[in-house]
């Protein structure tokens, strides 16, 4: 297997073909050191700034049409000449420990196009949350791809983890399904940068849903844009969505958002390793966050996690 440092170097050089090997490495529980080497090789210090990609979180309830929407988004991004990596996180996790990753079957892609990479991952018992490997993969692939998508199934507040990693979070809701009401009630309202109402072909219902949501969003502030799309023919709204995502990204303090993402990942990794007891040893979650805030903003996740380890001592 290629070493972590070498994979990082090839990502820095824009080599998209190493994506499968990168994922095989970050998912490998026995190669933590290699993963650290990889992440260090794509840290801001090594890149001379933040990674180029736009990291987009796409989330929403089951059946809202995320996969068909992603098919269309991938197509639109490719037409615009941008490379795309999709990390599809599947919530299905059984007491068997196994998972059925069926999403890929619903995303159409050209198998000979090396600039599209799709990887499915099991959430692994963390309902709605992100596997540590997914965070690491997003950080790493961001060095080479133009767009990195993290797709998760939204089940409510647990989706905040996506917001911690992504530059831009798009939440998908389906009108007429009760989603909208659920959505208005749930804490997920805090997260979206772009709100997508799918199945615009449902006509009046979709338009009404869009109006309701816009009104609700306005009451929370101006920051969320609402876009109606239809990803089944006649396809509509995709270009508008792409523009809305780009617009959000261009208005972003990227360095601040990425620094926050790395710190959140480090804390999540630490918590996954040491549990609540470990957090208490740091003096509690707030103290840990305060401590991370004192660290160099360019530090990569394993380095930050190691710093937390040091504090724990």
């Amino acid at each position: 297997m290629t070493s972590g440092a070498e994979l990082g170097e090839r990502l820095r050089a824009g080599d998209l073909s190493v994506a499968p090997a990168v994922l095989n490495l970050v998912e490998n529980r026995r190669k933590r050191d290699e993963v650290a080497a990889l992440l260090s090789a794509v840290a801001p210090a090594a890149l001379g700034g933040e990674a180029r990609a736009h990291i987009v979180g796409v989330t929403g309830p089951p059946g809202a049409g995320k996969s068909t929407l992603l098919s269309e988004l991938v197509r639109a991004w490719r037409e615009g000449g941008r490379s795309v990596a999709v990390l599809a996180v599947d919530p299905s996790s059984r007491r068997s420990g196994g998972a059925l990753l069926g999403d890929r079957a619903r995303i159409s892609f050209d198998p000979n196009d090396e600039a599209v990479f799709i990887r499915s991952t099991a959430a692994g018992g963390r309902l709605g949350g992100l596997a540590p490997a997914t965070r690491a993969a997003a950080h790493a692939l961001a060095a080479a791809f133009d767009i990195v998508v993290i797709e998760t199934v939204g089940v409510g507040q647990s989706e905040t983890e996506v917001a911690e990693v992504a530059d831009t979070v798009a939440v998908i809701v389906q009108p007429g399904s009760g989603d909208v009401l659920q959505f208005l009630k749930s804490g997920i309202m805090e997260i979206p940068d772009v709100l997508v109402v799918t199945k615009a072909d449902l006509g009046e219902i979709a338009l009404r849903a869009r109006r309701d949501l816009s009104a609700a969003m306005r009451s929370l502030g101006e920051r969320t844009k609402v876009v109606a799309v239809s990803s089944i023919a006649p396809v509509s709204g995709i270009d508008e969505l792409v523009a809305a995502l780009d617009e959000h990204r261009s208005g972003l303090d990227l360095a601040a958002r990425r620094t926050a993402a790395r710190r959140a990942s480090a804390l999540a990794d630490f918590a996954a390793e040491h549990g609540e007891r470990g957090i208490r040893a740091l003096g509690g979650r707030r103290a840990a966050v305060d401590f991370l805030a004192t660290q160099d903003p360019g530090l990569d996740v394993p380095t930050l996690a190691a710093a937390l380890e040091g504090q724990r001592g």
Partner: protein, 662 residues
């Protein structure tokens, strides 16, 4: 005149054989010889490219041309297929769904060019798209436009081709996908309601009686033949009820439940295949015993369907079963023999109660179109339960899980291994033929016709006139379908596996496999990951689905890639997903072309993982597949899926240098 005899013997049902292979010309010869043997109607089997709207020279058609049916790429093929058969007298059933409007248009065009008016034509287009999403997989367009095509055909034929059955609501394939009798009834009725609701929007209300009367069913019958007969009686009760109450139909002629049948293939075994003959006979009884719910048309599978494609002699044997039943026995001399039977009435009441409850659930989901995900997951679950019962010996299958000692079967001793093999040269010939066809036609006329088709597709007009015009102009199947794909979009149906519940009762047996998966995963550093998918156009996915669900229950991460995959797609998925093993399922007989293609594509991408294959693979093909690099081959006689899982873990362990458990 006594009440227990009919004044005169009933006329037999229509006898058909589901047939077609290689080329239109070869199939035409087969049809003529079948008719000479006493068959009374035609049942056309189309190959998978024709069913899914691809020409023989399309990438996805590779390995599939002329395999499970006849390729019909344009009106020239339809002329050859029907050559010498009087279309004004023949009753032709076409197993065609996504592309039904197109094949009907070719049939109409061919008839008219032979001087037969469309109003004279009799027959059936299967045209049931919901069951394609649920069970059979030969869909082409998304649900909405697909339902519109069906409604257009109904609206067109009810006025212009009045003796045509524009749609056969299929419960057949639901049973093949594992449906219980209750599910078969309920989902078929729900499906019919979805179609009728769609048509109601496109025809005059006073035509609804006629429309209702033209809807026929295509059902299945399993070997539990008493209950299966009750199922048909229950369906006729529900159908009449539906007509009266939901659609205001009053004419008793229109309210009659009319159905054709092909009996069960799922229960046919590869081991001791001669036993299939008695299964087929009993299943034929299920649909013919009681006069009040007797089939209008019957076609029987052949004894060797679990082995490969049937030869003409095998099909003749099945036709002879029908003829013995109809002409030698006294079956047709009596009124309904179950009238007043407590057992039959009780069974019917039981099924009606279950079916009504299930129909209510589908209605709660918003009807059949919206409930596709629900129904699909329910079928996957039922099928898993069926397999579990067979694995545990709770359901006896003679020759498979009981009484397995057998003398060698002389039926399999011939040089052909007891099956039909399609000449691989056929595909190359057809590719060339379609190129020649395109070169020799009036291209301007075709372009104009296809432009008009594209315009109509985007409008609210009926699709049939433009489709018939394109057929007559010489357009190809692939061109027609591509024009509509451009207008309607492509579609990937739900797989049903994500939602399938874990099977708690199999836990004990799976536990050791799960431990082994965990142990090997720990050594590998990440969870053992398997890719499951179906190369080619064959959409019969229930085998692949069962493997995927069981692999998950055994603790593996399963990438289920679905159906209709090219070798390049499978290889790209395997690479990107970082799987440790690839599992392919294939039932259409195209394994000899497609599997080596997948292995080649994996090599090209540098993916060095073992490939296992399952499906209807004749014994003679096993060694060549292994020589091409396949690690293991599983056929219908390998019914113990847990054992397959054990094999897979061991295989992955060996390939990765992980010591296997003692």
């Amino acid at each position: 005149m006594s009440e227990h005899r009919l004044p005169e013997r009933d006329r037999p049902w229509m006898m058909r054989t589901y047939a077609g292979h290689s080329t239109a010309k070869a199939s035409n010869e087969l049809y003529r010889s079948n008719l000479a043997k006493g068959q009374t109607g035609l049942s056309v089997a189309f190959d998978l490219p024709t069913q899914t709207g691809y020409d023989p020279d399309h990438e996805l058609a590779r390995g599939e041309v002329g395999k499970v049916g006849v390729p019909v790429a344009h009106k020239g093929d339809m002329h050859a297929l029907m050559d010498g058969i009087p279309l004004d007298e023949m009753n032709t059933s076409m197993t065609i769904n996504a592309t039904a409007a197109w094949l009907l248009a070719l049939y109409i065009g061919t008839a008219e060019e032979n001087g037969v008016e469309e109003s004279k034509l009799q027959g059936t287009t299967q045209n049931d798209i919901i069951k394609e999403f649920l069970a059979r997989g030969t869909y082409a367009f998304p649900p909405g436009p697909s339902m519109r095509l069906i409604a257009d055909m109904v609206a067109y034929t009810v006025e212009r081709v009045p003796k045509w059955n524009p749609i056969n609501i299929c419960s057949y394939h639901l049973q093949e996908a594992g449906a219980t009798p209750v599910q078969e009834i309920a989902f078929a009725m729900a499906n019919a309601m979805a179609v009728l609701d769609a048509v109601r929007e496109r025809v005059d209300q006073d035509l609804m009686g006629k429309v209702f009367g033209r809807i026929s069913f295509f059902v299945n019958a399993g070997v539990r033949f008493v209950e299966e007969h009750a199922k048909l009686r229950a369906m006729s009760v529900l159908w009449e009820e539906l007509g009266r109450e939901r659609y205001g139909v009053e004419d008793p002629k229109h309210l009659r439940f009319r159905y054709g049948v092909q009996v069960n293939s799922l229960g046919l075994t590869e081991s001791q295949p001669e036993n299939n003959v008695q299964r087929i006979v009993l299943e034929a009884l299920a649909v013919s015993m009681g006069r009040n719910a007797r089939a209008r048309a019957i076609q029987l599978p052949a004894w060797n369907e679990a082995l490969g494609l049937p030869r003409p002699w095998d099909q003749q044997w099945s036709l002879r079963i029908q003829q013995v039943l109809a002409y030698e026995t006294d079956l047709l001399e009596y009124p309904d023999i179950f009238e007043g039977s407590k057992v039959m009435d009780g069974l019917v009441a039981e099924l009606l109660e279950g079916a009504r409850a299930e129909m209510a659930v589908v209605a709660e989901h918003g009807g059949a179109v919206k409930a596709v995900d629900y129904m699909k997951a329910a079928l996957v679950d039922s099928h898993r339960e069926r397999l579990r019962r067979i694995e545990h010996g709770e359901q006896i299958v003679v020759g498979l899980n009981k009484y397995t000692d057998s003398e060698p079967s002389p039926l399999l001793q011939g040089a052909d291994g007891g099956i039909l093999t399609v000449d691989p040269e056929v595909e190359a010939q057809q590719r060339e033929a379609v190129e020649q066809w395109r070169a020799s036609r009036d291209q301007a006329a075709v372009d104009t016709a296809l432009e008009e088709l594209a315009r109509v597709a985007q409008s609210d007009e009926n699709i049939m006139p433009a489709t018939i015009a394109a057929a007559k102009a010489g357009a190809t199947t692939g061109e027609w379908a591509q024009t509509l794909r451009d207008a309607f979009g492509e579609f990937r149906a739900p797989t049903g596996v994500g939602e399938a519940a874990a099977d708690p009762s199999s836990d004990d047996e799976l536990a050791p496999v799960r431990d082994e998966v965990e142990r090997v995963s720990e050594q590998l550093g990440r969870t053992l990951k398997i890719l499951v998918g179906k190369p080619g156009l064959d959409g019969h996915s229930n085998g692949a689905e069962q493997i995927a669900v069981r692999a998950r229950d055994a603790g593996m991460d399963v990438v289920y890639d679905g159906i209709r995959l090219t070798p390049a797609q499978i290889a790209a998925s395997a690479l990107q997903e970082g799987v440790h093993v690839v599992g392919l399922s294939i039932l259409s007989g195209s394994h000899r072309e497609l599997i080596p293609g997948v292995i080649e594509a994996l090599k090209e991408r540098g993916v060095d993982v073992p490939v296992v294959v399952g499906g209807i693979i004749p014994e003679a093909d096993v060694e060549p597949l292994k020589a091409a690099g396949v690690a293991a081959v599983y056929t219908p006689k390998d019914f113990d899926i847990t054992k397959i899982m054990r094999d897979v873990v061991t295989l992955v362990a060996e390939r990765n240098g992980v010591a296997t458990a003692a």
